[in-house]
């Protein structure tokens, strides 16, 4: 559990520099040096007058189980949004009038689809559901350029 800075909120009063016992808050990028940050210390979070510092957690809870019917309804909506994103992308690629609108629609449909995935049990990368999917992908036959290494690394680190 270490601190992170929302640079857009930071008013550069620099009280975090005064209070941090390790110097983790004083960096050339403005972000906290995670290697120096003390696990769970939170002194800078409490000292910051602009609420620009917060804690990033290393462990996340197991979420309540989702009802099958909710998941099914969300996943069928997800498929529809995926189809609409593909349609909008084709229109954007065509380069004709309205390509910009098509690009906006493609992006919007991607966000709508991601929200369906999130509520259909893929909210946390660490969740059992996410890991089960990675294991399933790792065990399936794929074409040569399938990023098996990335899947393996995620299964090892999550």
């Amino acid at each position: 559990m270490h601190a992170a800075r929302n640079v857009a909120l930071c008013t550069k009063d620099c009280l975090c520099l005064f209070i941090c016992p390790t110097g983790a808050t004083d960096t050339e990028t403005g972000q906290i040096d995670f290697a120096k940050c003390l696990d769970g210390c939170r002194l800078c979070v409490d000292a910051c007058p602009s609420h620009a510092l917060y804690l990033v957690f290393d462990r996340y809870p197991r979420k309540p189980a989702k009802e099958d019917k909710v998941v099914e309804a969300l996943e069928s909506l997800l498929d529809s949004k995926v189809a609409q994103e593909a349609l909008a992308e084709a229109l954007a690629r065509s380069g004709s009038a309205g390509a910009k609108l098509a690009k906006a629609l493609a992006m919007s449909n991607r966000i709508l689809a991601e929200d369906c995935a999130r509520e259909a049990r893929y909210m946390l990368p660490q969740s059992e559901q996410s890991k089960a999917l990675l294991r399933q992908l790792a065990g399936q036959p794929h074409t040569g350029d399938f990023p098996a290494e990335a899947v393996g690394k995620l299964l090892a680190s999550l």
Binding site: K66, E67, K69, V70, G98, R110, C116, A150, K153
Partner: protein, 149 residues
């Protein structure tokens, strides 16, 4: 229902969502790995040959008449307020798609003249306006969450 098979397009969405989750958790290495997997499935996904905006109308109508009401009734029975939140935002954003497309069909490129396009990266709301909205009317995210197209 654990071993369901997803289309490549759906897998690309699941992975791009988990990429964003890793970024929020400040885990850049894992974010990059999910991005790599998501990009792979995006290239594997079926490409559309759509020629006209009207090709979207059928799916939009289906979502508004069946897709979202089905999520709403299942979520209400289950007391799943997260799914209800997703349904509430998504239905409104989809209605905006419908009205934007209807306006574009009538006005053509005049609709976009003098305006910019902004997309709320929290809920997907599309704004057609000269300047970025102060607040998303659907999800209340601030101006900083809008992406200019």
């Amino acid at each position: 229902m654990d071993e369901r098979t997803y289309s490549s397009g759906a897998l690309s969405v699941i992975c791009s969502n988990l990429t964003k989750a890793c970024e929020k958790q400040m885990r850049p290495a894992e974010a990059e790995q999910f991005r790599t997997i998501g990009t792979y499935f995006a290239t594997q996904a079926t490409k559309s040959e759509a020629k006209a905006f009207a090709d979207l109308n059928g799916l939009i109508a289906q979502d508004l008449e069946q897709g979202y009401p089905q999520v709403a009734s299942a979520a209400e029975v289950a007391g799943d307020r997260g799914a209800l939140r997703c349904m509430t935002w998504g239905k409104k954003v989809t209605s905006i798609h419908k009205s934007v497309l209807a306006r574009y069909e009538k006005q053509g490129d005049a609709l976009l003249a003098g305006n910019n396009l902004f997309v709320c990266e929290a809920c997907g709301f599309i704004a057609i306006a000269p300047t970025v909205p102060e607040l998303c009317p659907i999800c209340k995210a601030p101006a900083s969450r809008f992406v200019k197209i």
